[in-house]
């Protein structure tokens, strides 16, 4: 029987010691990381409610938002395609690939691509798809599906990855994570540089501006959207938000919820393909908007699950996920659900059929930890209950409780009969009390056989021969005439007497926390200081943009840097104090690859260009006007192997900021 398969998978996961260690590590670190990251957001609850309201509005008026979004994206020069289902999406992609005679596809993480079986569907057409997110790359080499939305290889230990690289890539076996990361960097760099098409997902599409926002840490998202001549973005149609201001709100929630970061290392904001004056960027950008059941689901009792921003926080909070991992979420047919965890237990049956995946919703104690962790406050317990009750995307009510085992179904019906009148109920109580007294004459708790479910891990209490209702009339009430009332003292609010730190202090503190070296100096000293840094590193050739060019005295290269160039020196449009980020825009004399391909990136900006918050940064017209912009927050990083932070996966390993002092 099918549920047995699911239960068998659960047992297998529970018995796997490696997996249990990995999952415990994931739960503990991610939960703490999330709490710490939100400790600086006092209005978190208001933000969650606002985010919820925005997504509710978008999902309720999706067609209208889609029209606005698609109009803007098209106006920006990106070709938009709409795919009703998996087949259409693949077909559209193959057409694009054929047009460009493509062979090699470099792909960054996209959940919707998992949903449409993208990688496998392209194989027969002779296309090689290489996953470039480290975790995705690892599971692709193993021929597996990701086991977590954010950390695809969370189920593996470093030894397993070391062995995998040894077998598949021929490198010597190692358990040194940094060495494995270096191997992946080397191998995948070639893929980025030679791929015919770069494929990415989209975290948010902004309806007002047509912005495609992509959030990554390793830098592979930037690579695949910057280097190959063609970029194809895959996006679920529900991933729209109305404005850039809303984007600032969602970006304050997503990375904190996903990885405990104030912002991810790279937040790309893409508007158009390479323009005539741009130094780099793809000649063509396409956006494939995938429906795959969403428009139908939008009008169903499960619509709220479309508010999901795929942060994975519910997985990290969920005690079920912590116990079994993503690969145990399987359908009746044994196939692994594309979306695991609490959100997966709703979305998978909602999109791909309750018949197959409805059983996932049964595996929940309805503890609500998922909703509590959800940055969009999705009422996951209620949605799980709706799946259980047979509500689905077609609004055609199925039989309720289909996945409930027969003995439970029967038991609950018997209980319903007994509880339908007080007489039956108290008769049942007394009968049960008598029987359990005979079964266990001396002890309140007695063992039950394992097959009952309860008896698997605990004893059961005797029913009382004299239940509360029988005792009621014997209870003597002596109501205290005294007034015990004391009004509970409210916690006195923290007195906010300390002055907020200055923008510069905040910015430099945040940068230091990210491991970025900051040099605060007057403008006239920048040249010498920069020359000293490059000399110390033995670097003779650097990539520059127009700002960098003014300050670098050694060999300079403007354009896409080659592999001999070890450092990039660029200006920055502005710095964001709250997260220690800085913003780069592409365009004339602004190669975005100069801050991406070299091992070291040096950014030069002025104190006067600091803004306090992301929202203020996103309001600047230069961002909107650029073909492409990126918000950089620290060096390239990953936690994909054993959740261990490793720096310098695909992008720069070192970031330096020269902050030019403001003259009084």
């Amino acid at each position: 029987m099918s549920t047995k398969t699911f239960r068998a998978r659960i047992r297998k996961s529970l018995a796997d010691q490696n997996l249990q260690l990995s999952l415990d590590g994931n739960a503990t670190r991610r939960r703490i990381g999330r709490l710490e990251a939100f400790s600086t957001v006092p209005d978190l609850q208001e933000r969650r409610m606002r985010a919820h309201a925005i997504k509710a509005d978008v999902v309720a008026h999706l067609e209208e938002y889609l029209r606005r979004f698609i109009t803007q994206v098209t106006r920006n020069g990106i070709r938009v395609h709409r795919a009703a289902d998996e087949k259409e999406a693949i077909h559209i992609f193959l057409e694009i690939a054929r047009e460009h005679d493509a062979r090699l596809v470099a792909k960054s993480k996209s959940m919707v691509s998992e949903e449409i079986n993208f990688d496998h569907a392209l194989e027969p057409a002779g296309l090689q798809v290489v996953e470039t997110d480290l975790g995705e790359y690892i599971v692709q080499l193993r021929g597996e599906r990701p086991s977590h939305i954010i950390t695809p290889a969370v189920h593996l230990t470093r030894a397993q990855v070391g062995q995998l690289f040894h077998e598949k890539l021929g490198t010597p076996y190692t358990e040194d994570i940094l060495e494995m990361v270096a191997t992946a960097r080397r191998v995948l760099r070639q893929v980025f540089l030679t791929a015919d098409i770069g494929v990415s997902g989209v975290n948010f599409g902004v309806a007002d501006t047509g912005t495609l926002c992509l959030v990554t840490n390793e830098g592979n998202g930037r690579m695949v959207t910057t280097l190959p001549p063609v970029h194809v973005a895959l996006m679920g149609i529900e991933r729209i938000i109305p404005t850039l201001d809303d984007l600032a709100l969602f970006l304050s929630l997503l990375p904190r919820s996903a990885t405990g970061q104030k912002l991810s290392a790279y937040t790309s904001l893409i508007h158009s393909p390479k323009r005539f004056e741009d130094v780099d960027g793809p000649q063509e950008r396409h956006l494939i908007m995938v429906d795959n059941g969403r428009s139908v689901m939008r009008n169903s009792p499960l619509a709220e699950s479309l508010y999901c921003i795929r942060c994975g926080a519910c997985l990290n909070a969920c005690p079920v996920f912590r116990s079994i991992g993503g690969h145990a979420y399987i359908g009746q047919d044994g196939s692994i659900a594309p979306y695991p965890g609490p959100i997966g237990a709703v979305v998978s049956p909602a999109l791909f059929g309750c018949e197959n995946f409805g059983q996932l919703a049964q595996a929940s104690s309805l503890c609500g930890a998922c909703q509590e962790a959800c940055p969009v406050n999705i009422n996951l317990p209620d949605l799980l209950l709706r799946v259980r009750a047979g509500e689905n995307k077609n609004n055609k009510k199925q039989a309720e409780g289909v996945a409930v085992p027969a003995f439970l179904n029967l038991g609950l019906k018997a209980f319903r009969l007994a509880a339908s009148t007080p007489f039956f109920f108290s008769t049942g109580q007394r009968l049960g009390g008598l029987l359990s007294r005979i079964y266990s004459p001396f002890k309140k708790y007695f063992p039950l056989p394992a097959w009952t479910g309860w008896g698997y891990s605990k004893d059961f209490p005797r029913l009382e021969i004299s239940p509360f209702r029988a005792r009621w009339n014997r209870i003597k009430q002596e109501v205290n005439p005294e007034n015990l009332s004391i009004h509970p003292t409210e916690n006195p609010g923290e007195s906010a007497s300390t002055l907020p730190p200055s923008l510069v202090t905040r910015f430099t503190d945040e940068l230091s926390a990210l491991g970025v070296k900051v040099y605060r100096l007057p403008e006239k000293k920048v040249k010498a200081s920069l020359a000293k840094l490059l000399r110390e590193r033995g670097i003779e050739r650097v990539a520059v943009d127009d700002i960098g060019e003014k300050y670098v005295t050694s060999f300079k290269s403007v354009g896409v840097p080659d592999s001999t160039i070890l450092a990039g020196v660029t200006g920055a449009l502005m710095g964001i104090a709250e997260s220690g980020s800085f913003v780069l825009i592409g365009g004339e004399a602004h190669p975005l690859s100069a801050s991406l391909l070299p091992d070291i990136h040096i950014a030069i900006l002025r104190e006067t260009d600091l803004v306090p918050t992301l929202a203020e940064a996103l309001a600047r017209p230069e961002i909107r006007a650029a073909s492409s912009a990126v918000i950089i927050t620290g060096p390239s990083r990953t936690g994909d192997i054993e959740m261990t932070l490793s720096i310098g996966v695909h992008g720069p390993k070192e970031v330096h900021v020269f902050l030019i002092e403001d003259l009084e």
């Binding site: 659960i10 529970l14 005690p319 079920v320 919703a361 049964q362 595996a363 929940s364 104690s365 309805l366 503890c367 609500g368 909703q371 509590e372 209620d382 209950l385 709706r386 799946v387 009750a389 309720e400 409780g401 996945a403 409930v404 085992p405 439970l408 019906k413 209980f415 319903r416 509880a419 339908s420 007080p422 009390g433 708790y445 479910g453 309860w454 698997y456 891990s457 605990k458 004893d459 209490p461 005797r462 029913l463 009382e464 004299s466 239940p467 509360f468 209702r469 029988a470 005792r471 009621w472 209870i475 009430q477 109501v479 205290n480 005294e482 007034n483 015990l484 009332s485 004391i486 509970p488």
Partner: protein, 244 residues
């Protein structure tokens, strides 16, 4: 003299059937807080087990019965269980969402519902009931109480006023114990895993007593302790507040 107050007790089927002594403690504590208790004898079960299993057609008659029984009474309805109180407050609204007639009745009823500790602290303004419990205590916040009702401050405040009690924080306190109603029967392996973690965390506190506000967690964790032949006692908060 404060005017006397009368409340209706929905004792819950678990306390009624398995732990009537908890029900008695609840009445005593409410009396001590200056409240007279009435017990509508026709009450049975709120329908939560079937509702949570997805069997809404089975849950509905019990919900309707419960609404009818309490509609005939007046005053606050006190529920000594986070999950049953949540069933009244939000479960019924979901259950009757497509039936305006019953939905309205359910909403009216939901407005009268108070969880036991919530009522004592927020409505009665009582913190110190003159209770005494020599020794260590640790508190497990039940899932629905904590997350659906948002009640956490109240039981903590009440326990902090218990004389001679040393309240110790339970590690990973807010993690589910694995009861989840029918979940514990349908997915015994998962339920066992949660329970194992909960008991391991309880062991870390070295507290002989675990306090809960829900008889579901009580019978689940106590049942696990008995199976593991451990000595810790799980008690309902009313039993602590009733002891002098």
């Amino acid at each position: 003299m404060p005017k006397s107050v009368t409340v209706q007790l929905f004792v819950t089927c678990l306390i009624d059937t398995f732990f009537p002594e908890v029900g008695e403690a609840i009445v005593h504590v409410l009396n001590r807080a200056g409240v007279r208790v009435e017990f509508p004898a026709a009450q049975t079960c709120c329908g939560q087990p079937a509702f949570n299993a997805g069997l809404r057609s089975q849950a509905r008659p019990l919900a309707e019965h419960t609404i009818q029984v309490f509609e005939k009474t007046a005053g606050d309805i006190i529920i000594p269980s986070g999950s049953c109180a949540a069933m009244f407050r939000s479960g019924y609204l979901e259950l009757f969402k497509n039936d305006p007639h019953w939905l309205q009745r359910a909403q009216t009823l939901a407005g009268r519902v108070q969880e036991f500790t919530e009522y004592l602290v927020d409505v009665r303004g009582v913190l110190d009931l003159g209770s005494r419990w020599p020794g260590k205590l640790t508190y497990h916040p039940s899932c629905h109480l904590l997350r659906s009702l948002g009640v956490d401050r109240q039981p903590s405040l009440l326990l902090s006023c218990v004389k001679e009690a040393e309240v110790i924080e339970l590690p990973e306190r807010a993690d589910c114990c694995g009861f989840g109603g029918v979940f514990s029967l349908e997915h015994p392996e998962l339920s066992a895993e949660f329970l194992k973690r909960k008991i391991a965390n309880l062991d870390k506190t070295a507290s002989p007593t675990l306090v809960v506000c829900d008889a579901g967690c009580l019978m689940h964790i106590q049942g696990g302790l008995k199976r593991q032949r451990k000595d810790q006692q799980v008690v309902h908060i009313a039993q602590v507040l009733d002891s002098q």
